[in-house]
Amino acid sequence: MLTDRMLRRVVPAISAAATFIAIAAASTAAMAQEAQEQYFGIPSSRVGPYSAMGTGYYGGIIDYLNYVNMKGGVNGVKLTYDECETEYNAARTVECYQRLLNKGDQKMVVFDTLGTPGAYAVIGRMAQDHVVLAQYGYGRTDAADGRVWPWVFNAAGHYWGQIAVKMNYIAEKEGGVDKMKGKTIVHLHIDTAYGREPLPAMRQIAKDWDFKLIEIAVPAPGLEQQSQWLQIRKEKADWVTFWGAGSGMNSTAITTAARVGFPREKMFYVTFGGAEEDMIPAGDAAKGTYVAANAAPGKDYPLIADIIKVVYGAGKGNMQNPDRVGTVYYNRGVGAAAMWIEALKNAQQIHNKVGKTVNGDEFRDGYEALDVTDEKLKEIGILGMSAPFKMSCAKHDGSERFKVMQWDGKKFQILTDWVPAPDPAFIRKLIEDSAAKFAAENNITPRKCS
């Protein structure tokens, strides 16, 4: 009979023992691995405050991997993956990174943390472990300097480019850069490093164009933005660039703006703050909000439509709610995964390993060789969804082009084509300065790029 006393001893003892056994099994077991399977480690964040983002993004990645498999793999090489829950937490991301690193005798070749905190936590290990950190529209901006960061890429455009594009669009809407003189722009942001990212670039632009820049911080979780918006009203701001995180903060900003009567048509959201999950809870109030996009939403891109037909048709779709296919985060995930596969193809090509698996160094070369033209995008089926770009030894960032879209109450209307940053040289200089400073502080010798 299981008495209370026995339970007292047994329960904790069993859990402790089981824990050790499980960890031992997980880390030392040589899992059956076919030589023709390329392994990917996926640090998903499916629960917690950023779950909407995580399920969409990683769902897109997983669907694309399955899709590629269903179409015969990459030159016959099938793709496998393992997931690990990070809850969008830096410490858990590090643990997941370690756990996912090796599978059998294969090492993962690429890691995508969907977020700046996670990226920073693992960025120092990439060079040692020979894993590519494929940032996609987030993360360490100055890693765009490939001489200091050979293992880090950002294929989707970073924040400094994004803010420049936005300011340009605002200027256009106001009637020209000369009309910006004397205007008041508020940068409403979450009170973290991520929220303050665009400030150095913004301050410079404010100086050059002679407008007043007001920086207002919102402490997390930002469910209550009364004081910030009353300030915005008092300052009679002309435009508000919003850099929030988490759908609570993002939708609250819209509803509070509605409450103080600030027109949504003068609000410009960041790529990580403006998705369907952020607009829908705000209801009608969200109509008119502008959002920058590095991956355009929509179900009618040939690839997305095909994924619905092939993957969801076979019942293997990863999204619990299939309506989320084609949303902003989903498409961003598909875009990110598409770049992995293109890099894989490049790697196989460059190193004469067509039909075989590649290792980290080879994958890195493949990623660096990415030359995604409009034709290539059409071939993949995402022309118009992602922007064309070319990587190089020194330039590890993508096209630095963004589309501007506007929420119409039901979905996003894409207003422009790929808008480039107005002064890429200026941004590149900022990046190189920052990277050089980092290299000096950490005794890194930047590699030479011909």
Binding site: A217, L223, E224, S227, K234, G248, R259
Partner: protein, 300 residues
């Protein structure tokens, strides 16, 4: 707009926000008052309650049917908590019970995401979150309709619960149980029923708070953190005082907003996060039990 009116606007906005915090804090006070348990899972309960409510509506139930169904669900949650978490831990220390409620919070959050998924949802209560026009016209101040409604609801709930505790037989039973479990048992007060009633009421309060917050900020995981906003209210008002909760809520809301707008810019903003807590600490230094809390008498 002249500065005085702006100050008043911020103040009124702060007072109204404060009542929203007070609503959440009310749940804590109820449970603490009746069973001396600090229910850290209250935030999770707010989230679960409103998520289930919206979930039921999505499944097809109309507004007025979903409401009692959700209330029933919350009563079940309360009863389950009392039966499976609190009763086995009945004589343990305060710390243990606190930990148990934190564990409970994890469970409720996980179950909420399991049952209803992780999508973000809208809640439309029919009250627009827009300024009241005649106030706007007369004074130029911005006072939101939703905020005023929330304040009214909070006020009514607080009044009702205060009356319950002080003037009804059930209320007296609740207070007796809070004072001394053993003595209450010995005079025949049904302990289990009382506790179930309290937890059920706290669940209903959680639902109301969740509906108002959800209408304002969307129904999503971040709602769990409104509990963190309510803690300073609890400290200042005292853990055991129902009317104290409203007064403390007003104080916290006002100080938080005025502080953020007028003092915050000197520091670069963002002081909203810790200012109410600092205020609470200052209050405690003067009155360690909060404004209306019961004086803690210790026998050596």
């Amino acid at each position: 707009m002249p500065d005085f009116w702006f100050f008043l606007e911020v103040l009124v906005g702060g007072l109204l926000s404060g009542t929203m915090y007070a609503l959440v804090a009310l749940g804590f006070v109820l449970i603490y008052k009746a069973s001396s348990v600090f229910n850290f899972a209250q935030g999770a309960m707010v989230f679960f309650a409103v998520l289930s409510f919206v979930g039921f509506m999505e499944l097809g139930l109309p507004f007025w049917a979903a409401l009692p169904v959700t209330v029933g669900l919350m009563i079940l949650v309360g009863m389950g908590t009392e039966r499976f978490v609190l009763r086995p831990l009945v004589n343990q220390s305060e710390d243990t019970l606190l930990m148990a409620t934190i564990g409970l919070a994890f469970v409720i959050e996980g179950v909420a995401q399991l049952a209803w998924g992780v999508d973000v949802r809208r809640l439309d209560l029919g009250i627009r979150d827009e300024p009241i026009n005649w106030v706007m016209d007369k004074t130029g101040m911005l006072v939101s309709q939703l905020d005023v409604t929330a304040a009214a609801v909070a006020g009514i709930m607080v009044a009702a619960l205060a009356l319950l505790f002080s003037h009804t037989k059930v209320g007296r039973g609740l207070r007796a149980v809070a004072d001394d479990h053993a003595a209450a048992l010995s005079i025949g007060i049904p302990l289990k029923h009382i506790w179930m009633l309290v937890w059920a009421t706290a669940g209903v309060v959680a639902l109301v708070a969740g509906m108002l917050w959800g209408a304002r900020s969307g129904v999503q995981f971040a709602l769990v953190w409104v509990a963190l906003k309510a803690l300073p209210v609890l400290i200042i008002g005292g853990f055991t005082s129902v009317p104290g909760v409203i007064l403390a809520g007003l104080i916290v809301g006002a100080v938080e907003k005025i502080g953020e707008v007028f003092i915050g810019p000197f520091f670069g903003g963002g002081i909203e996060g810790w200012a109410p807590y600092m205020l609470a600490v200052l209050f405690l230094l003067i009155r360690p039990e909060g404004l209306f809390g019961e004086k803690i008498i210790r026998r050596v």
